[in-house]
């Protein structure tokens, strides 16, 4: 195996798609964490909650373990996913750290789906929080951005195939 095997031209498209999705994901990550994802009205008190705000509230209600899980799943995991994918894309074509990149990709692929926890949490809270003034949960625009980040990262990691880590030169333009 002296010369590298020919790279399929579809991988060029995959690389472009992945780049576009990662950049979109990074841009959307900011509003997703700044804009509230929901407002909770409890006995007349309206409370807008961002993703981090929700975690903080859980922590203050004496549930540090649950808060930790939600923090990991909805803030750390998407960040790690975007960071790892950026690393893979920047290092694409080089021969350094290929083993580490393969391991990192595998880990990110494995834990990636747990970031959906916050969207499901919103869905469950919105479902039962329909008691008018007593308790109501309303989704806010942050939910759009958060869902968009998740969709971007899921499709980005699907489009960067593990074999592409081992391709040592850029695919040719078609």
């Amino acid at each position: 195996m002296n010369s590298p095997p020919p790279i399929p031209s579809s991988d060029h498209l995959r690389l472009q798609t992945c780049r576009a999705l990662v950049i979109a994901g990074i841009i959307l990550y900011v509003p997703a964490n700044v804009i509230p994802v929901m407002t909770m009205t409890v006995v007349g008190r309206v409370e807008p909650l961002t993703v981090l705000g929700g975690v903080e509230e859980l922590y203050h209600s004496g549930l540090p373990v649950i808060a930790g899980i939600v923090f990991l799943a909805s803030i750390v995991v998407p960040f790690c996913k975007l960071a790892t994918l950026s690393w893979l894309l920047i290092m694409h074509g080089s021969t350094e750290c290929q083993q580490q990149r393969a391991t990192a990709r595998r880990i990110v692929h494995l834990i990636g789906s747990w970031s959906m926890v916050d969207i499901f949490l919103l869905s469950v809270l919105a479902a039962v929080g329909q008691l008018g003034v007593l308790a109501s949960v309303v989704a806010k625009p942050g939910a759009f951005f958060f869902a968009a980040v998740l969709v971007c990262t899921i499709f980005a990691s699907e489009s960067y195939k593990p074999r592409m880590i081992w391709q040592t030169r850029e695919p040719l333009e078609t």
């Binding site: 006995v43 209600s61 649950i66 969207i119 479902a127 039962v128 329909q130 008691l131 989704a139």
Partner: protein, 208 residues
């Protein structure tokens, strides 16, 4: 694929990095790792091991129905009660104008797990019964795509978190749906663990 037991080495492609690996006869319980990326390429598995996957997929499909039609919990504040199903949140989000989010929740909590279990059931049942049903290869591809969307365990965790959160605001009562949901998440997880793609592919080649 016929010279599986012949002494001449066969080259197989690594399922992850697609490197060519030399296949060697494996002693029982041994695994063959890819020399390039280190992933498990071959496992010596027992020939009957597709049946647990079939059983779990069947159970999963039945539980999928049960978990979706039985209320999971109800939330009570000062005598006002609201009960929820998995689908209630989807409808509420849709009504509040967040239809893309509602669509995402519907797809990843209801549609994709159901389709995943159904495709796995179809492929594994065809293998176990040795029936060359139509479209098996396409179904296998679909099962591979849908595997990462099998998010029922994540939904179960979200339900648990929401109960803990709501418990500080009012009274939360569990219903039977919660049990179905918990068992369904275990079934869905185990199905994806026991669904052996290579074994299915080999069986499909024998069938054709």
């Amino acid at each position: 694929m016929t010279e599986l037991s012949s002494p001449t080495p066969r080259w197989i492609s690594c399922p992850e990095c697609e490197a060519a690996c030399r296949e060697v006869p494996l002693p029982p319980r041994a695994v063959l790792h890819c020399r390039r990326c280190g992933v498990v390429v071959r496992k010596s598995t027992r020939p009957t091991s597709l049946q647990p996957a079939w059983a779990l997929a069947t159970a999963g499909l039945l539980l999928m129905v049960m978990a979706n039609v039985t209320p999971i919990m109800s939330f009570d504040v000062a005598g006002n009660t609201q009960t929820n199903l998995i689908g209630t949140g989807v409808i509420t989000l849709y009504k509040q104008g967040y239809w893309p989010v509602a669509g995402l929740v519907f797809f990843s909590a209801i549609a994709a797990p159901a389709l995943y279990l159904a495709t796995v059931w179809y492929v594994v049942a065809a293998c176990c019964l040795a029936r060359p049903w139509p479209g098996l290869h396409r179904m296998l591809t679909w099962a591979e795509i849908l595997e990462s969307w099998n998010l029922v365990p994540v939904f179960a965790l979200a339900t648990l978190v929401s109960v803990v959160k709501l418990d500080t605001l009012g009274t939360v009562t569990w219903h039977h749906g919660a049990i179905w949901l918990a068992v369904l998440s275990i079934c869905a997880f185990l199905t994806s663990q026991l669904f052996d793609h290579r074994m299915v592919e080999e069986r499909l080649e024998e069938l054709a």
